[in-house]
Amino acid sequence: MTMKNGSGWLLPSLAGAMMIGALYLVFLWVPTERSMGIVQRIFYFHMPPFLVAVVAILVGMGAAIRYLMTKDLRFDEVAVACIEVGLVFDTMNLLTGPFWARPVWGIWWTWDARLTSAFVLWLMFVGYLILRQAIDEPHMRAAASAVVTVFQAVGAVIVYMANRLWRTQHPQPVIAGGEGSGLASPMWVALLGSLAAMLVVFACLVQVRRRLERLRRETEGLRREVHAL
């Protein structure tokens, strides 16, 4: 991968430094949770990726709506970059969960409302990318995939609300979950440190993926030109 110029390294350097800081907070600084023990530390790189995936959907949907308003394909570049990188974080969320569930619940997975809706949201991310592969015309592709981002936003709300609305095997919400929910202060610091580092990594990957999309579009245009001659 190439960076555009010297300043292009600023964001990756910041991401690296913040990730090292987050690892320090998660593995060395935050105290071990009393009832679950060391395995609870998975929480710090299980929950933040979901929040990053939600940010990806929201930014992607915003860019897609801007595309629909302006027909400017640069917004579609932002949308596809956000959704593809969002898929990486959503996959991280889905795959780290079972490594916590196995020692704590005794099972890897259960089809409760939270886990099922999270899996459906992951399928929506994949569906978005498959849909883009299936449509050749750039504007039709951008418009069709814009619609999917709206469904993804609805999906993200359902995942967020699932353990608030229904009884689930998944733990009850620790953030804004009402009476009895919440985290001890050091846990908040580790969680927010991890989230901040992942958001910078997300921004970094989106930047690279967006440049890749521009390159792809350029190649596509040139290919058409060659075929037309």
């Binding site: 395995v39 530390r41 790189f45 795959l95 020692p103 890749l212 792809r216 350029e218 030109e225």
Partner: protein
């Protein structure tokens, strides 16, 4: 404690592998597109030259 350390290690490894695999795929795609772009430019030059 040591038994649970195994799960923490696996979860952490999976998280990194996903990211590294994605970064590698971005690099691979970028290289392929640059090569294709160069080839198309050369082809276009050739066709226009004829």
């Amino acid at each position: 404690m040591e038994e649970n350390l195994k799960w923490l290690w696996w979860a952490f490894s999976v998280a990194w592998v996903i990211h590294l695999a994605y970064v590698a795929s971005l690099g691979r795609r970028q290289k392929r597109l640059r090569e294709e772009l160069e080839a198309l430019k050369a082809m276009l030059e050739e066709k226009r030259g004829k």
